[in-house]
């Protein structure tokens, strides 16, 4: 039962700086954080405060300079590029503000990517992709190409791709940033539903309407956590 005791994400005193010539930007300055399975964490803060950087580090897309990050008890600092890929494939789903779909592939192929890299069989891939696409209400668009779809639809495809491999951790970076409010609301509802089904979600947003949906909020300023609190259950 040790599984239950180990937090999904355990971050201690994380530092990261970007260097461009002589100019150094301290993007993360001593972040410590714990996320349990089933949490829905919202990260907020002004533009440029390091939200995306933190999310990228959590998603193993970026390295950090000092501190430690343990994912399900695994120390991530010593992982090779391929080991990171493998962990991302099995345990992490990622949704970006700019969707990051591959334009030359159909919706189906885009969503199937994590499963294909995992080596799933054809039938299994077809079944899971169908399932993920219906979950985001896009099953009827599986033969389309991304640029034939609206922004909201593309974001839903991106969510389907993040979900299709049943990850332990869903990282969402401003999912509504490029969408109008109607589409944004729809995406948020979807995330809430996922949370209710037990998915652990970390979401970056600067929209307070949406951050309130989360079970926990973390506020960042200049690469530091200035506030962290449980959401008050409003009756």
């Amino acid at each position: 039962m040790t599984e239950q005791l180990i937090p999904l994400v355990q971050v201690d005193d994380l530092h990261k700086e970007f260097r461009q010539g002589n100019i150094a930007t301290l993007a993360l300055q001593g972040i410590s954080l714990q996320i349990q399975r089933g949490d829905f964490v919202a990260i907020t803060g002004p533009s440029g405060c390091g939200k995306s950087t933190l999310l990228n580090v959590l998603g193993l897309l970026d390295s950090f300079d000092s501190g430690s990050y343990q994912l399900s008890g695994i120390d991530t600092s010593t992982l090779t590029v391929d080991q990171r890929s493998k962990i991302r494939n099995k345990h992490i789903g990622f949704v970006f503000q700019s969707f990051n779909l591959i334009d030359s592939m159909t919706v189906f192929d885009n969503v199937a990517l994590p499963l294909l890299h995992r080596g799933c069989g054809k039938a299994e891939v077809a079944e899971k992709v169908e399932h993920a696409l219906s979950a985001v209400d896009m099953a009827h668009r599986s033969a389309f190409y991304p640029n034939q779809l609206s922004g909201g639809q593309q974001q839903r495809i991106a969510i389907a791709r993040a979900l299709v491999g049943s990850p332990d951790l869903l990282l969402v970076d401003e999912p509504t940033g490029n969408l109008d409010s109607k589409n944004g609301d729809a995406v948020m509802q979807m995330l809430q539903k996922l949370h209710q089904q037990g998915t652990t979600i970390v979401m970056v947003t600067h929209d307070h309407r949406y951050s309130r949906c989360a079970s926990r909020q973390i506020q960042l300023l200049d690469g530091q956590i200035i506030a962290s609190g449980q959401k008050l259950e409003v009756a």
């Binding site: 897309l61 970026d62 590029v81 494939n89 099995k90 990622f94 990051n100 990517l113 890299h117």
Partner: protein, 793 residues
């Protein structure tokens, strides 16, 4: 599943992105074809077992050459070989064979042109050629019979099982067919035999017992056994032989032995290596270019690769996926390469002419195709391995599009580009210099003019009985032929009134010479020269300048001679003019002319030509430009005599020149093609590189333009990086070219006349052309309103 998807994507890219796929498939396909063709040649000539030759490791060739400085002549002929063999029999088996091509042969139905192989009995068995029908050549009574090859059997006799005993005639004599051998092409005779061949055997136990010893033939002496006799033994034999032939003892005779295959290849080995190096370099240039092109292509897709990694693709797998994509580029190239090379190998007999032995046996072997596939795999690796893996996935995925100005892999790109340029410079400079030399060799420096002249040769055999006639009869016969000659001349003059008709037995381009050696008594020095029998009008007609003395006159006897300046210098280095009137043996010198280029490479000795006192009549007719004559017309002109000359031949000087320079001209075209290909590849690479660079900077260029930069400033901004790299590459290339040529000129006489100024000039011209190729795409970007780019963003 994913791989299949990537392959399909690659195929789609092939058609949808012609800017990428056309240069890749074309340049790769064509260079692969060149490599494949040369590899086939290499494999056939150097590695594949020689067809029909058994246990070739026991075969070797003995060369005994009479050295004349500029040329050398075989010592052995059939009768000297008989002497040689008799003395050296204990060492192993000896055989002697020579080839005559285009021998006219009559079967019962038709006339054909075959290769005649004149050999000592037992040569096919010595080589290991399989006997298909009849008796072997070692069986008794070879003298009267002939043995035909399988191809002759097939084409002339439709594989008739009863062919043995049928007759085949040549030179007016009928021979019974005694057997059928398999075709054999791998014989180091010159000329090389064709598959349409027949054997005639001479008795090598019979030596010429008396009279003057002739030497010289085109035959080769083949040995089969463990070890050839050593040089000392050969010299012993030579001493013994020369005792019977004292007139040969003054000659310098060089003896050597050679491996059988090496003898067939001759000095073509170096040529093959050179071709292999050149084609592989061309392939390398193409591959480096394409790698660069693909790197730019990859960069435009970095977001896609980042997404693959995001969703869990390992680095190796990603490269594998890209390799599968690229398979769709490499596969068509490979197919194009194989098809083109099949065609090239087929046209090799035309392309390579007689510059390569065993031409007709060259084909695409499975082994060569395997090497080809290996090359293709290597290319795939080269194209797919440098795939830029985003070090920071996060930034690749957050890219908004404009941030992509910084090139990944820029060191690799620059290194590839510089190596490409270096190699191109070497190949281009080398091949252009060679082509120029070839051009000069073919088209200039003859020392005579190509005029509209024709050699009429009645082609009748020299009457062998003439010398043996009693004096009165001989005189009568001479008179008869002289009159005949004058009559024929008259007839030709009547038919072509504007023609110059000469008694010369040569045109300056002819390859038929008599080589003569004599000792200059005054200085007791041997001289070797080529003898040419010409008419008094010869020098004026062909524009050969007379330097001293006079030309022949009608009164001159055959003892009057004219020599060329080269020979004159040998006789009197200080003052050639004083040689006029001097006696040289029984002859006396009346004039000295400028040297002309001739095939023997020897100095010339012109004899005043009188009509031949034989049936064979030789006339040279020079017609005004625009007129021509044919054998049929001449025959018609001869009227009542026509029937006496059924084999009359007419050869024009132009045609003869075309024939003798054919190989040189083909080489010239080939080298020019290599130069052009290398230049094209280089320019493609340069333009591609420059296009990538300026495309990448397009956004920045637009911003600069919007803020008021002039087009010239923009051009400088767009092109300076590529320009610098270009300069570096060409400088490297130039330096290496000098080094390599310095080294190579020791091995290839072709490179000997290397000229530094010419090389420098060439490099400058190349640099200028390259600069244009580089600036052109920059100019396109600068000129094409870059503000548009901003608006589209």
């Amino acid at each position: 599943m994913l791989y299949l998807q990537r392959f399909r994507f690659g195929l789609k890219r092939l058609f949808l992105q012609p800017a990428l796929s056309v240069p890749v498939v074309l340049s790769l396909g064509l260079t692969l074809a060149a490599v494949l063709t040369v590899l086939s040649v290499y494999y056939t000539l150097m590695i594949r077992p020689l067809p029909q030759i058994q246990a070739p490791e026991q075969l070797s060739v003995r060369n005994l050459k009479v050295d004349f400085g500029a040329t050398s002549v075989n010592l052995l002929n059939q009768s000297i070989f008989a002497h040689f063999k008799q003395h050296l029999q204990s060492y192993g088996q000896w055989g002697f064979v020579s080839a005559v091509t285009n021998e006219r042969v009559q079967t019962s139905q038709q006339e054909h042109q075959l290769t005649r192989l004149d050999a000592s009995a037992g040569v096919p068995e010595l080589l290991g050629v399989q006997l298909l029908l009849g008796n072997s050549s070692t069986a008794a009574d070879q003298n009267s019979g002939v043995w035909i090859s399988e191809t002759v059997w097939q084409q002339l006799y439709q594989r008739d099982a009863e062919v043995i005993g049928q007759t085949l005639s040549y030179k007016g004599k009928a021979h019974k067919i005694a057997g059928v051998y398999k075709d054999v092409l791998a014989i180091p005779t010159s000329p090389e035999p064709a598959a349409l061949q027949f054997w005639h055997f001479f008795d090598d136990t019979k030596q010429k017992s008396s009279g003057q010893v002739n030497f010289g033939s085109s035959g080769v002496t083949i040995f089969r056994g463990q070890k050839q006799p050593d040089e000392a033994t050969i010299q012993q034999w030579l001493q013994q032989f020369l005792q019977d032939a004292p007139e040969l003892s003054k000659l310098s005779i060089v003896s050597s032995q050679r491996d059988y295959r090496a003898e067939i290849l001759g000095d073509k080995v170096k040529l093959i290596w050179l071709l292999l190096a050149v084609t592989l370099t061309l392939l390398l240039i193409a591959a480096l270019n394409l790698t660069n092109l693909l790197l730019a292509h990859y960069q435009s897709r970095s977001q896609e690769f980042a997404v693959q990694m995001l969703t869990g693709c390992s680095v190796f797998r990603l490269k594998l996926l890209v390799a599968v994509e690229n398979l769709s580029l490499v596969l068509p190239s490979v197919i194009l390469g194989v098809l083109t090379s099949l065609w090239l190998v087929k046209s090799l007999p035309f392309l390579a002419g007689d510059s390569l032995p065993l031409l007709h046996t060259i084909r695409l072997d499975a082994e060569v195709l395997a090497v080809h596939c290996l090359l293709a795999v290597l290319l795939l690796v080269l194209f797919s391995w440098p795939l830029p893996i985003p070090a920071q996935l996060a930034s690749a995925l957050s890219a908004s599009g404009k941030g992509q100005t910084k090139q990944q892999n820029s060191v690799l790109v620059n290194v590839l580009f510089i190596s490409q340029l270096t190699l191109s410079t070497i190949i281009i400079c080398g091949s252009v210099l060679l082509a120029y030399q070839g051009y000069r060799h073919i088209y200039t420096g003859y020392g005579f003019e190509l005029v509209n002249s024709y050699m009429i040769d009645t082609n009748t055999k020299v009457d062998p009985g003439l010398v043996a006639l009693p004096p009165e009869e001989m005189r009568a016969s001479m008179l008869h032929y002289q009159q005949r000659n004058e009559l024929l001349q008259q007839k030709v003059r009547q038919r072509w009134p504007e023609a110059i008709v000469m008694n010369s037995r040569q045109q300056p381009v002819d390859s038929r010479y008599t080589i003569r050696t004599m000792t200059d008594e005054q200085r007791n020095m041997p001289m070797t020269f080529a003898v040419s029998r010409v008419d008094s009008q010869y020098f004026a007609t062909y524009g050969i300048p007379l330097l001293h003395g006079r030309t022949f006159t009608a009164e001159d006897s055959e003892q009057a001679i004219i020599i060329d300046l080269t020979l004159a210098r040998q006789l009197s280095a200080e003052d050639p003019a004083q040689l006029i009137g001097r006696r040289q043996g029984i002859e006396h010198i009346v004039g000295i002319v400028a040297p002309v280029k001739n095939l023997s490479g020897l100095p010339m000795w012109y004899v005043n030509s009188k009509p031949l006192f034989t049936e064979r009549q030789l006339l040279v007719v020079v017609l005004p430009e625009g007129q021509s004559l044919t054998a049929a017309e001449v025959q018609q002109t001869f009227g009542e005599f026509a029937a006496e000359y059924p084999e009359l031949k007419v050869e024009s000087m132009q045609q003869h020149w075309l024939n003798t320079t054919r190989q040189d001209r083909i080489n010239f075209y080939l080298i020019s093609a290599i130069a052009a290909t290398a230049l094209l590849l280089a320019l493609l690479g340069i333009a591609g590189m420059s296009q990538q660079q300026s495309r990448r900077k397009r956004y920045e260029i637009a911003v600069r333009m919007a803020t008021g930069a002039s087009q010239r400033q923009l051009l400088w901004f767009a092109g300076r990086h590529s320009g610098l790299i270009l300069l570096l590459g060409i400088m490297f290339g130039s330096a290496l070219t000098l080094l390599i040529f310095n080294y190579i000129s020791g091995y290839f006489s072709l490179f000997k006349v290397m000229n530094w100024q010419a090389l420098l000039l060439l490099e400058m011209v190349f640099a200028a052309v390259a600069l244009v190729a580089m600036l052109w795409p920059c100019w396109q970007v600068v000129r094409h309103d870059p503000i548009q780019t901003l608006r589209n963003q």
